[in-house]
């Protein structure tokens, strides 16, 4: 495959990842969020495979398959089950209103591009232009955690952040060593299980998954 075409595809997929990130930022329904998360995982997996093919790094295929199973199939499934069991599929309330969140998100993207400009000058990789997108995805994930009140959305925000980091790893250095990636994948899986358990406990304790209620745990003066 032509390097140029690969670069184009890579940029296109990066744009899609960013788009899904913005989609998650504005999506009010739980199921919609989970679906967007699954789409983001799919784009990520495709991107990894293409980078692996272009750079001739075969271990990236393995991490691509891993991403596919974990982030496109397993985690969305777990989240689905959780949402059904806990009956929390109603609309998500936000702390800041949606247009405002969008504006902050756009500012973050511009900030990331500004930040990554010197790196792009130096790097010679095919994927160098997508580094800014990866950073923006991380920051939008964090922004999502800040602006949402619901525990499940916060977890999705966290997982989106992880997606951003993974994306940064593939685009900046053609992926981390396989051992590290396997470890991270396992961590994510275990984290998902722990979150699941905690959701149940939070739900039974506070009768809600609204994290605002947890402010009651604060010690009074």
């Amino acid at each position: 495959m032509n390097i140029n075409i690969a670069s184009q595809i890579n940029s296109f997929l990066a744009a899609l990842v960013l788009l899904t990130a913005f989609g998650m930022l504005v999506q009010r329904r739980m199921y919609g969020l989970v679906h967007l998360f699954a789409w983001q995982g799919l784009f990520l997996s495709l991107n990894t495979a293409i980078v692996g093919f272009v750079a001739d790094r075969h271990h990236l295929y393995i991490s691509s398959v891993l991403t596919l199973t974990l982030k496109v199939i397993l985690l969305p499934y777990i989240l689905h089950v959780l949402i059904q069991r806990l009956k929390v599929h109603k609309e998500v309330e936000t702390v800041v209103n949606i247009p405002m969140t969008m504006l902050i998100g756009i500012a973050l993207v511009i900030f990331s591009y500004h930040l990554m400009a010197p790196v792009r000058e130096l790097s010679t990789l095919v994927t160098r232009s997508t580094l800014a997108v990866a950073l923006a995805t991380v920051m939008i994930g964090l922004l999502m955690m800040i602006t949402r009140k619901h525990a499940v959305t916060q977890i999705i925000g966290f997982l989106a952040m992880e997606n951003g980091l993974f994306f940064a790893a593939t685009s900046a250095t053609y992926g981390m060593p396989l051992v590290v990636e396997l470890g991270v994948a396992l961590d994510i899986l275990i984290a998902a299980f722990i979150f699941g358990i905690f959701f149940f406990h939070i739900h039974t304790t506070f009768d809600s998954l609204d994290v605002e209620k947890m402010a009651r745990l604060k010690e009074e003066d």
Binding site: V95, F111, L115, P118, M139, L142, L143, M145, I146, T147, K149, Q154, V211, E212, M214, A215, R216, L217, K218, D221
Partner: protein
């Protein structure tokens, strides 16, 4: 297997740890637990005494390296005469107190389980022994913390009272501030001894060999002195001491006051004389001045107390002051290269360390016996106990005489040696010191006199007269193990007072190693009898002859009074013509100390009120008079209150960051990331 002092001491520490492990297994029967564990600690202490005496007497230095602790940072242990001496002090008192505890702790039976007390007690003694045995900064600090934590839990033992919890908290705060200073001091020394990249300088051997630049040596000394002074209770870092000692169980107060404070003295001597080794004269002047201030302030505060154990705790401040006077003088003499006088000061300080351990242990055990029998700490409620508790009264009196520095007991010997060091200070080449140091002797004399007054009060109000309290408890004499512990301590006080030459000959090797000269107190014929620190024509003292003289006078007086029948006859008390005299009208602790309160009142924060409640018909004959008196430590308001208030204010300010909302915390991280990214770009 070759038995050496190190072997004995290691087995002593191991036995204490084994006792800790054994305790949970036998906690079902508390009586059996008390008997077994305190017997085992007595045995461990006895091993420690033998090992310590041997190490000093043999004058050998022995090292071992334990391959435990952190990787590549093994624990070093070392026993030399100085360590052996402090081991002897610690173990000797632990032996007596452990025997005493067999009886004393039984007072808790049926009231609360004592398992935790036993465990912490063993760890506490083991911690003190390890502090002295440690030969590297890491092991030293680990042991130091074991000791501090164990004693914290011992102070907390009766944790249902709020005063105990407050005292324990204050204690742990001061102990940790001190520990941080010690840690920093060792850091400075280790860093300059090795280098700051690795830990090669953390052994005391490396620190001994290092030549520190004078400004860094000064920093290390000041930090170490601050840290150890906080532990020793030197004014103005003494506030925890009168809070923590009274609320701890009495056997623990005896150990804390008697020997735990001494580990700080050990630390000061070890760091200045051994690890740094070469210092300017003004270090000694700092130690001397703080020692004098502690001695005078300690005894003045003690005079104002009417809680028996609190009074004893303030006397610990005073005695630590006296020890530091000896050590400070020794440091001044060392810096002017006068080894003989330096040896005199050092021996005076160290001898007082041993003496104070003995008589303060005895006094706390006596106070514990009183507390055990009456459940009362307030002297104003006591009186006449000499009839009910003759043993305790006699033994407490021996402690009082010893601490008041009266011959023939041990307190006199060490204070006399300190005076000799003072009186020889005009030999110093520094004009300023030559003029000022003798003034210190005057302050020390004042301290001695006030201490005697204080113990006249303590003994008189507690044991003489009649019971002052409103309700009379059933008071029983202390049981056999308690009496045994106290008798042994009293006997040691007596022997240390009568045979000082033997003891000083035994410990002279310490002064030879640290100051370069032996003191050689015994020369000529009948040398064991005469204590001659410098030269016979200057001054000498014989405890034996003084004792025989006192014995002769007492026997003669007894014979004169008791041989002729009818020489003594009992009569009713003269009631000044006021008929309804009762036991509440006795002279008491507050009235005893009133003249001194008038003279030195400016040193205290005193609030005194007299309120008359008049009778309607006769305004000149009030129905009731209420007297209210509150004496407080001025240092609390000067030094501690501002610190406490500022730290509360800052905590409240910082506490506003803690919103309790997850989003807020996430925003903090988010802003941090953005700021870092902007700045690191």
């Amino acid at each position: 297997m070759i038995v050496t002092p190190m072997w004995l001491l290691s087995s002593s520490v191991l036995l204490l740890f084994l006792t800790v492990l054994l305790t949970p297994l036998i906690k079902g029967s508390q009586r059996f637990l008390i008997n077994t564990s305190f017997t085992l600690t007595s045995v461990a202490s006895l091993l420690g005494v033998i090992g310590g005496v041997w190490a000093v007497g043999g004058g050998t230095t022995e090292k071992i390296i334990l391959e435990i602790g952190l990787p590549a940072l093994p624990f070093h242990m070392r026993i030399d005469p100085l360590a052996g001496y402090f081991i002897t002090v610690i173990s000797l008192l632990s032996l007596f107190v452990s025997l005493y505890s067999i009886g004393y702790i039984k007072g808790y039976l049926g009231r609360r389980p004592v398992t935790s007390l036993v465990i912490c007690y063993c760890l506490f003694i083991a911690g003190m022994l390890m502090v002295v045995l440690a030969d590297d900064a890491l092991f030293f600090l680990v042991s130091w913390e074991v000791m501090a934590a164990a004693s914290y839990f011992l102070v907390m033992f009766e944790d249902e009272h709020i005063e105990n919890r407050r005292a324990a908290f204050l204690y742990i705060v001061v102990a940790h501030v001190g520990a941080i200073a010690i840690l920093l001091s060792f850091g400075v020394m280790a860093g300059l001894a090795g280098d700051f990249e690795n830990f090669s300088g953390y052994t005391f051997d490396a620190m001994r060999q290092a030549q520190l630049p004078v400004q860094w040596a000064t920093a290390a000394f000041l930090l170490a002195f601050f840290g150890f002074a906080a532990k020793a209770g030197v004014v103005p870092l003494h506030v925890w001491l009168p809070e923590a000692h009274p609320v701890a169980p009495s056997n623990v107060s005896a150990l804390m006051s008697g020997v735990m404070l001494k580990t700080a003295i050990y630390g000061i001597v070890r760091v200045t004389f051994d690890l740094i080794g070469d210092f300017p004269w003004w270090w000694g002047a700092i130690v001397l001045i703080l020692g004098l201030v502690s001695a005078v302030m300690g005894v003045l505060y003690a005079l104002m107390q009417h809680d028996l154990k609190r009074l004893l705790a303030y006397h610990s401040v005073e005695n630590i002051g006296i020890i530091l006077i000896g050590i400070g003088l020794s440091m001044i003499f060392t810096s002017y290269h006068m080894p003989l006088l330096a040896a005199l000061g050092l021996i005076a300080g160290l001898y007082h360390t041993l003496n104070h351990a003995m008589f303060k242990g005895l006094l706390f055990m006596g106070a514990g016996a009183v507390l055990h029998a009456t459940h009362e700490r307030n002297m104003e409620e006591m009186g006449g106990l000499i009839h009910r508790m003759p043993w305790t009264a006699a033994l407490f009196l021996i402690g009082c005489v010893s601490i008041s520095a009266l011959p023939p007991f041990n307190g006199f010997v060490s204070e006399w040696l300190t005076f000799q060091a003072f009186l020889l200070s005009p030999a110093l080449p520094n004009q300023l010191l030559k003029l000022l140091v003798p003034l210190g002797a005057a302050l020390l004399a004042l301290t001695g006199a006030l201490a005697a007054a204080c113990f006249v009060k303590a003994f008189g109000v507690t044991f003489l007269g009649h019971w002052r309290g409103h309700h009379t408890p059933r008071v029983r004499e202390a049981d056999f193990p308690m009496r045994l512990g106290m008798v042994l301590a009293a006997a040691t006080c007596f022997l240390l007072g009568v045979l000082p030459t033997v003891v000083i000959d035994w410990m002279d090797i310490i002064s030879e190693q640290l100051t370069g000269s032996k003191l050689r107190v015994s020369t000529g014929a009948y040398s064991w009898m005469w204590l001659t620190p410098i030269a016979p024509e200057r001054a000498s003292y014989s405890g034996t002859i003084v004792f025989l003289g006192i014995l002769f006078v007492v026997v003669a007086a007894y014979l004169v009074l008791h041989v002729k029948p009818g020489a003594i006859h009992r009569a009713p008390i003269w009631d000044c013509g006021f008929e309804k005299i009762n036991q509440r009208m006795q002279y008491n602790a507050t009235s005893f100390s009133m003249p001194i309160r008038r003279i030195f009142g400016f040193l205290f924060n005193i609030k005194e009120q007299v309120k008359l409640i008049p009778r309607a018909a006769h305004p000149f004959f009030p129905k009731k008079i209420n007297y209210y008196l509150r004496v407080r430590d001025r240092f609390w308001g000067w030094l501690y209150k501002p610190v406490v208030e500022v730290s509360f204010y800052l905590s409240r300010r910082v506490g506003r960051l803690q919103q309790g909302r997850i989003q807020a915390y996430l925003i903090y991280s988010f802003i941090t990331i953005i700021v870092l990214l902007v700045f690191s770009r």
